[in-house]
């Protein structure tokens, strides 16, 4: 060991090489190991590499022999294709010789490496190795490498040779056969060079099959079982090889199919069972059509006799080792689902399979914790119901329903009950020991089971609803709260299907739940009950909001329960359901408004009132306010709601004076978020009824004016007053974002309302911002939305405000200087000019516009953005330029159109130069499609484009590109681009071709 840390000198003889190899595999510093590796790699790649490899394989040390085999492989990979015939034969003979020797010595590691090296010979040698397995088998039988040529012509049946070999020699052949199938499978069969190799495999498979057959049929001892185990791996590799390559060559596949029966026999041998289960499951899942009906029948019989007893016992014992047994059953079930569904009286094909699938779901344990199989069993039932639903719904209406439907429905009813039992939450003493993995696993199971239930509901319909209602009422009656929770959870899953179906049968079906004592029971907080049960009951009110809306008699009980829950640990769920219920049932709840306002005021003093709950509940109340009529009725409740917000703002200011920054931030931002919630609540619902027969148009006019004068205006002023909170929280991005949200709530409205503030409010908010304002891009994007809203037909044109927004954007651009300094702000500023099209184009273009003098700086900023590295400002700038170049289809004045054209002509050479530099390699490949847009617009609209392109190509600023791109290539590119007038797809292809040539990269990463 003295030499371990010695410096690494180049070895001068084979003994030193051996020493170096041994040091490579000893613990050492990474630097030394790297140095040794470099030295050895240097030797491997040298012309003496072959000789060195051969000598090292004669060593007594296993690691040295391994390195020898590795060196052969490296040499073959590098020099294999250029070997002459004599060298190739020598290499093959030496490799076979060493394999025979090493197999005799039973050195598994080296043996496997030699198998890999021989496979590399098969792949890389320019000379065909026609019968590798026969050659190796004869050599092993002979105890030395035999010459390959006679082997090619030998008529000896390989099975005869195999009888003379011991188990280890058989295993050696299996290793080679396995590696061969695996490695050749990685070679593309669709090229002429490789086609011959794949054709050869069609012959080799016969020897491989004889070899595997030999291993499968000679079982018994420990060593022969090892051979069978290797044969299973080999079998899997050959089938994996055959699947894509022999789709249209049934002969090869038949040879492999003949092995299914002997391989399946391994499932009956306890020592081989585990491994064979994995192999068969893999094949069933990935290549079902490999199995013929008789094979599937055989597997079903084996499962019945050999797998079932182990599975059932393991399920009862909650033994984790049972997993592969269950997985096999599930895989076979999925593979034979047609038979399982359509032949319900078939003992092996259906009855036994369904029974076992039930047993998996019946097993004790919680999914995600000590029950892994239930989660996987869902895949089988998904396949089952998918097949059944296909059969029911894909046939014509006048065709009779399938005869097995009643049986399938009975099966599914049982599945539903078993799933429900599995979805029951664990008691506290179990769940308290759960980590996040178990909890997440259980939640995932419930979600997967939910999806399955929805599919089953398509088939079972009303009867499934009744099943859950009975379960709910029974659990409620017996006060089995966890069972109740699972039943409610299932009813929630089905809510959308139930609500959509407004038939009286369904309505009557769900009635017993809402008219039961459910909400009184769960609302009785003196009763001990899992919090999850109450939470799911709360969710139910959200899920069935539309039903409750149609049955207002259930609302008081429900809301009483929800408001009571607000002051408990269930506050978040309760707040969410209140918001959903009040939004849906707003019209029915207007009479309750005063009570709700009082309850909200009381709730604000509760410790559970936080940002989330406050936002949800205030939104809920605002929804009810929205339903009030006329507009004047909304004033008082809105004053009450705004008062709560102002109280928060006042408290924030007081905390600010006291220097408590944390509280200032929380209260200030919450106040703005609550304000947004009120705004959203007041938005007119999308499905509101519009009275087109309104006789008195004066009503509309009065409403229009209401919010701009008197009481209405007072509300708006109070809303705007809330922005004063920005004086103390304006440095927080969240606050700026929340303020923008408040402004946006009014943008979506088409009718005047309390939050439909004058556009000047948005403009003045933007004008107060600087480059240092956090979330400035959100402010700019809000301004963009304002312009878009006022670009619609019938909307008020806001020239003055749009001009002010542009001026502010120009100011930001000028202050920024370079777009890459703040890509977010740069993109948003450019977007402002993009939004001006088409109604406000004149603000950008007109010589009389207040920003006319700033136009050059804006255009230069956008040129800079195109040449910058930041993708988003670049895309925004490319879009604006495209719109500027393309003549607009909308009505704009001739003078504006003329001025646009003048601008494009003036900036054409600069813009073209920027685009060409990008195409010549300065851009990313992913940006080329965007760059083609303005290029296409130029080609289509500007006659001078060709001249500009030629100038750009010869300009000094044209980047240094790959030597293959000469002047002729540049000219050809210009000709192609000009010739493809308007064909964007082809233009993109040509551009990508030129780009790849300039960068010296591949034209495309696609195979086709």
């Amino acid at each position: 060991m003295s030499g371990v840390n010695a410096p690494v000198a180049a070895p001068t003889n084979i003994e030193e090489v051996e020493q170096l190899v041994k040091r490579l595999y000893q613990p050492n510093s990474p630097k030394i190991i790297q140095e040794i590796n470099n030295q050895l790699q240097h030797l491997q790649l040298s012309s003496d590499g072959w000789q060195m490899a051969d000598t090292l394989l004669g060593s007594n040390d296993s690691t040295v022999r391994f390195f020898g085999a590795l060196t052969f492989q490296v040499k073959l990979n590098n020099d294999g294709p250029s070997l002459d015939h004599s060298t190739a034969q020598t290499v093959l003979t030496r490799l076979v010789f060493w394999l025979v020797q090493v197999s005799h010595d039973r050195d598994a590691m080296v043996c496997r490496k030699l198998c890999s090296a021989l496979t590399t010979y098969f792949l890389r040698s320019p000379f065909i190795w026609k019968r590798p397995l026969q050659h190796l088998a004869m050599s092993l039988q002979n105890g030395n490498a035999v010459v390959e040529a006679p082997v090619e012509n030998s008529s000896t049946d390989i099975s005869m040779i195999l009888r003379d070999l011991d188990s280890y020699q058989i295993i050696t052949l299996l290793w080679f056969s396995s590696t061969l199938a695996d490695e050749v499978g990685k070679v593309d069969p669709n090229t002429a060079a490789n086609a011959q190799m794949h054709t050869l495999m069609e012959t080799i498979v016969r020897n491989a099959s004889a070899l595997m057959q030999h291993a499968f049929t000679n079982q018994g001892g420990e060593e022969t079982n090892s051979a069978s185990s290797e044969a299973l791996k080999c079998f899997l590799n050959w089938v994996n090889y055959a699947q894509p390559v022999w789709q249209k060559k049934p002969e090869g596949l038949e040879v492999l199919r003949a092995l299914i029966e002997p391989a399946a026999h391994c499932l009956t041998i306890p020592d081989l069972q585990r491994h064979s289960l994995d192999v068969f499951r893999d094949l069933l899942e990935s290549y079902t059509t490999f199995f013929q009906p008789e094979h599937l029948h055989l597997l079903a019989q084996i499962i019945d006799t050999y797998i079932q007893p182990v599975l059932l016992q393991g399920l009862q014992d909650k033994d984790p080792e049972v997993l592969p047994y269950g997985q096999m059953v599930i895989a076979l079930g999925v593979a034979t689902v047609t038979q399982v569904v359509e032949e319900p009286t078939n003992q092996y094909g259906s009855i036994n399979m369904v029974k076992l699938q039930f047993e998996i779901l019946k097993a004790p344990g919680y999914p995600g914790d000590d029950d892994e199989l239930s989660i996987q069993a869902i895949e089988f039932w998904n396949t089952y119901i998918e097949h059944l639903n296909d059969q029911i719904f894909s046939s014509d209406h006048d065709v009779e329903l399938p005869p097995y439907l009643d049986h399938s429905k009975a099966v599914l009813t049982q599945v539903v009950e078993l799933l429900w039992a599995k979805m029951v939450i664990p008691p506290n003493d179990v769940s308290k020991d759960w980590g996040s993995d178990q909890s997440d696993g259980f939640k995932d199971f419930r979600l997967d089971a939910s999806d399955l239930m929805l599919s089953i509901c398509v088939c079972l319909g009303q009867s499934m609803l009744k099943q859950f209602i009975d379960m709910t009422l029974q659990s409620l009656h017996s006060k089995q709260w966890r069972n109740l929770e699972a039943a409610l959870f299932c009813l929630n899953i089905l809510s959308e299907n139930i609500i959509e179906n407004q038939s009286s049968t369904v309505e009557d079906g769900i009635r017993p739940i809402f008219s039961s004592s459910l909400f009184r029971e769960v609302g009785d907080f003196s009763q001990s009950m899992p919090a999850q049960t109450r939470r799911t009951a709360i969710d139910m009110l959200g899920s069935y909001g539309q039903y409750v809306e149609r049955h207002a008699e259930y609302l008081p009980d429900a809301l009483r329960f929800l408001f009571a829950s607000l002051e408990t640990s269930l506050c978040n769920s309760a707040a969410k359901s209140i918001s959903s219920l009040c939004s849906t049932c707003r019209v029915s709840l207007t009479s309750e408004l005063p009570g709700f306002l009082d309850q909200y005021k009381r709730f604000l003093k509760s410790p559970t009132s936080d940002s989330y709950t406050k936002e949800k509940v205030i939104y809920a109340i605002a929804c009810i306010v929205q339903a009030l009529n006329p507009e004047s009725a909304k004033v008082q409740p809105l004053h009450a709601l705004l008062e709560n917000i102002e109280n928060d703002i006042q408290a924030a200011k007081e905390y600010n004076d006291a220097g408590e920054a944390g509280m200032v931030e929380v209260l200030g931002i919450t106040a703005l978020k609550c304000l947004t919630s009120i705004g959203k609540g007041l938005q007119v619902p999308e499905d509101v009824v519009i009275n087109i027969y309104e006789e008195d148009e004066g009503v509309d006019v009065a409403r229009d004016r209401f919010w701009q004068s008197g009481e209405g205006q007072a509300i708006q002023e109070r809303i705007m007053g809330c922005f004063s909170v920005l004086q103390i929280v304006g440095a927080h991005g969240d606050a700026i974002e929340a303020a923008c949200d408040v402004l946006r709530t009014g943008f979506a409205e088409t009718e005047p309302g309390p939050f439909v503030l004058p556009p000047t409010v948005t403009v003045s908010f933007m004008q107060q911002c600087t480059l240092r304002t956090p979330q400035l891009e959100t402010v700019l994007s809000t301004a963009c939305t304002l312009i878009t809203q006022h670009s619609r037909q019938n909307s008020v044109q806001i020239d003055a405000e749009a001009t002010a927004i542009c001026q502010q954007a120009v100011l930001f651009m000028q202050q920024l200087g370079n777009p890459s300094l703040d890509p977010g702000v740069a993109q948003s500023c450019i977007d402002v000019f993009g939004r001006l099209q088409d109604r406000y184009t004149h603000i950008f273009i007109d010589e009389a516009s207040p920003i006319a003098t700033d136009l050059p700086s804006v255009l230069n900023f956008m040129l800079q953005a195109i040449e910058g590295v930041e993708p988003f400002p670049k895309r925004a700038a490319l879009q604006v330029w495209t719109r500027l170049i393309k003549p607009t289809t909308n009505k704009i004045s001739d003078s504006i159109r003329e001025r646009s054209a003048q601008i494009v002509v003036a900036y054409g050479p600069q813009l073209t130069g920027a685009l060409i530099r990008q195409i010549a390699g300065m851009a990313w490949r992913s940006e080329l499609d965007y760059i083609c847009e303005p290029l296409k617009a130029l080609v289509m609209n500007q006659p001078a484009t060709k001249l500009w392109l030629e100038a750009a190509m010869t300009n000094d600023s044209f980047p240094c590109v790959h030597e293959a791109v000469d002047d002729a290539a540049k000219r050809r590119f210009i000709q192609q681009i000009m010739g493809l007038r308007g064909d964007l797809r082809k233009m993109r292809d040509v551009t990508k071709e030129f780009y790849a040539a300039c960068r010296g990269t591949v034209l495309s990463y696609n195979r086709s």
């Binding site: 499978g185 990685k186 070679v187 593309d188 069969p189 669709n190 994996n240 699947q243 894509p244 390559v245 899942e285 990935s286 290549y287 079902t288 059509t289 995932d444 979600l447 969410k576 390699g921 990313w924 490949r925 992913s926 960068r999 010296g1000 990269t1001 591949v1002 990463y1005 696609n1006 195979r1007």
Partner: protein, 112 residues
């Protein structure tokens, strides 16, 4: 496992992560740090990995309602064009879109 010869769908190359990988590979080829053949192999590995990662690791789910405008099944690929789509996300949030095209391919690693 499926190999390059067996082939994986290339549809994820158009995603932002696929485009970013292509951009990076271009850089590596241009600067002669890798050969184009290796870049192609990396891209093929990406096809395999993204498909398995999306299949196995992504737990998020959503549901949607829409009007089915067009559907077709060609070369083992389903295409649906749906209109007025309302997506419901895991957290209960809704996202709306006027028109969505869904391209669905065989998810098994080894197509049968």
């Amino acid at each position: 496992m499926a190999t390059a010869a067996q082939g994986y769908y290339e549809l994820y190359r158009g995603t932002s992560i696929g485009l970013a990988l292509a951009d990076t590979l271009d850089d590596l080829i241009s600067s002669r740090r890798i050969e184009p053949q290796l870049a192609m192999r990396i891209m093929q590995n990406f096809d395999q990995s993204i498909a398995s990662v999306l299949g196995e690791k992504v737990k998020a789910r959503m549901s949607f309602k829409a009007h089915l405008d067009t559907y077709r099944f060609c070369d083992e690929v389903w295409t649906f064009v749906i209109k007025d789509v309302k997506f419901k996300l895991d957290n209960g949030q809704f996202v709306e879109a006027e028109r969505v095209k869904i391209v669905a391919c065989q998810s098994k690693e080894k197509q049968q």
